[in-house]
Amino acid sequence: MTTPALKLTNVHKSFGPAKIIQGVNLEIAKGERHAIIGPNGAGKSTLFNLVSGLYTLSEGQVELNGAVISGKKPFEINRMGLSRSFQVSNIFSNMSVRENVRCGVLWSLGYGYSFLRNVGNLKEVQEKTAHILNEVGLLDKANLPAALLPYADQRTLEIAITIAGGAEVIMLDEPTAGMSHSETDRAVALIEKATKGKTLLIVEHDMGVVFGLADRISVLVYGEIIATGKPEEIRGDPKVREAYLGEEADEIEGASA
């Protein structure tokens, strides 16, 4: 048996008396595309923040490729090969698109806090930046200030920054939130292309996206995973249907693989 890319063991998180995450166990194999769904307030984003190191765990443990990462700082976790995006666009708004992506590239190419080289002369940095921009389709807007991008492009940039460092485990927090249908389709295609061969953990509300992308799905309700399985297993699970009353249950029903 190979080491899972990401392994959560008995993860708890409480804010004061409020218990947001109550014992999550999850294993994600290398190369798997795993989606987490659940109603609002289930703790999906909190779980992301716990894994990526923004919050500290109240209890439990998180492993990345067999190494314990819980308790480490976000930048340490990132350097170990885990990169995440944010639900709300979290980009460097006063810098150009190209500079945004370039910042994401730098560490992985070993430039660290270097202050003796001119970024413009770092060939591999320029090339990799161009490559990523091309891949996500932002090359023609490379010199625009990020803040002036249209919303959908900002979300794309968010993904571009996330994958720029070349991390093997990518976590995307609602990458298509607020997008139109056509934009969503493009985004899904982009995500598929950009995370090919990588491990993907995604939180998403759009069931079409989830059932289209994911190999496996976990359902998080009130801080607990009530079901994990292949998309078709999840769709048929009565517990999931119970948790998702009304509209959203129909959504699961209607979502086609």
Binding site: N78, R98, L106, S114
Partner: protein, 421 residues
């Protein structure tokens, strides 16, 4: 705007653009520095120019923090001061040395020592303070500045008490045949190091660390998720900023040959903040413009009016309220405007605004000057161009009110019109 950039599908700027944007300005800057002495400036102008050079380096160093890293400091003069003191001590060691290391050290190299001392001070003081950003950082810098200024009065052997310590820049071996005695040689010294400092600080903005400092300013949270520790980024940038401030200190040690505890107080720190902000912190060249303007104003405006501090305050507030991008923003906005397709429209708007501002300035000057003279009670009367304006004269009141009202009305009209468009 969008149209223009959409067309440029090329990834980076072309080499011609690079040359125009990144090399040409510095070549021009160097040329200006080199040409100035051939106009035969007086010693006063020379002294002023030297101070401007020092302040350019200081303001740029300060802007590495404020503009580039988003760290507001109220105590950056501490680093200039500590390094400056150190350099004056070195001057004295050079003077006292009989050969040996110090005896052979040219005074010309002092800014390097200042740089090192600034970096050291930044490394020590920055360690605790860079763990916070925003207002907390600003308050720490304020507290540190107060403490350091007090310490300077306490440790006489290091800081020379109220009188400070002085040295002689003519000591030590000559470098490039310069004794550094006459002011024009000091000018070359300052010009050389100003150029070095400006170029070095520009290059810094192009390094990975320089870029990351901007990223940290924009979004410290996100920086953590691309593998960087924002605290570390801030700390390193802080050290560099302190180091360049120290370099300015080394230059000042040679120009002024004296350092006093005042140089570490809140006053020069506040002055450099104003200079950088008025110049425009979002542009690399902003602090340079700010430093030139503010240095000139603080040395010369007081020759014309006792109310210069009031004008300074008014100007600062105006910039903060209406021109947040500072002088550089105005200059580049104008430059872009005259090249844009709807330039005639823009020009008309600017012309109206300029008239409005000019009208308001007339009134403000009349009010301030008349008020100052009246309040001093020497019976002096404000007499611009032989026109007598006593505080109780009808013309005075007209001049104080009418242009102001007209100016305000004009500016409001322009603002309303551009809102409609």
């Amino acid at each position: 705007m969008t149209d223009m950039t959409m067309q440029s599908t090329a990834l980076g700027p072309t080499s011609a653009e690079k040359f125009r944007q990144r090399v040409l300005p510095f070549v021009l800057f160097g040329l200006v520095l080199a040409i100035i002495p051939f106009f035969g400036p007086s010693r006063t102008t020379m002294t002023l120019l030297n101070h401007i050079g020092i302040n350019i380096v200081f303001a740029l160093a300060y802007n590495m923090l404020l503009g580039r890293a988003g760290l507001l400091s109220f105590g950056h003069a501490v680093y200039l001061g500590l390094a400056g003191y150190f350099c004056v001590h070195i001057l004295n060691w050079i003077d006292a040395a009989d050969g040996g290391f110090w005896g052979n050290l040219p005074v010309f190299s002092l800014p390097i020592w200042g740089f090192a001392m600034g970096a050291l001070a930044g490394a020590v003081i920055g360690w605790p303070s860079c763990r916070r950003a925003g207002t907390a950082f600003a308050m720490i810098s304020l507290g540190v500045a107060e403490l350091m200024a007090a310490a300077a009065f306490m440790f006489d052997s290091l800081f020379g008490g109220e009188m400070g310590i002085s040295g002689d820049r003519m000591s030590g071996p000559e470098f490039l045949g310069m004794s550094l005695g006459p002011l024009d040689e000091v000018y070359w010294f300052v010009a050389f190091w100003t150029f070095v400092g400006v170029v070095a600080m520009f290059m810094f903005t192009r390094t990975p660390l320089g870029k990351l400092s901007e990223a940290t300013r924009d979004n410290p949270e996100r920086v953590q998720f691309i593998g960087y520790d924002p605290t570390r980024v801030r700390y390193l940038v802080f050290i560099f900023s302190a180091a360049f401030a120290g370099m300015a200190g080394g230059m000042a040690a040679v120009q002024d040959e004296i350092f006093t505890p005042e140089s570490m107080s809140l006053i020069p720190s506040g002055a450099i903040l104003i200079a950088a902000y008025v110049g425009g912190i979002r542009y690399f060249s902003g602090p340079i413009m700010g430093a030139i303007l503010m240095t000139w104003m603080s040395s010369n405006l007081s020759d014309y009016t006792v109310g210069w501090l009031l004008y300074l305050g008014l100007m600062f507030i105006t910039v903060v309220m209406f021109v947040p991008d500072g002088i550089a923003g105005l200059v580049f906005g104008f430059w872009n405007g005259i090249r844009s397709p709807n330039r005639s429209h823009l020009m008309a708007k600017w012309a109206q605004q300029a008239v409005g501002v000019a009208l308001m300035i007339v009134s403000i000057i009349v009010i301030v000057e008349v008020a100052f003279r009246w309040s001093e009670g020497y019976g002096e009367v404000f007499e611009p161009w032989g026109m007598e304006l006593p505080h109780d004269g009808v013309i005075t009141w007209l001049l104080a009110i009418v242009p102001l009202a007209l100016g305000v009305a004009l500016l409001r009209r322009v603002a309303r019109k551009s809102e409609e468009v």
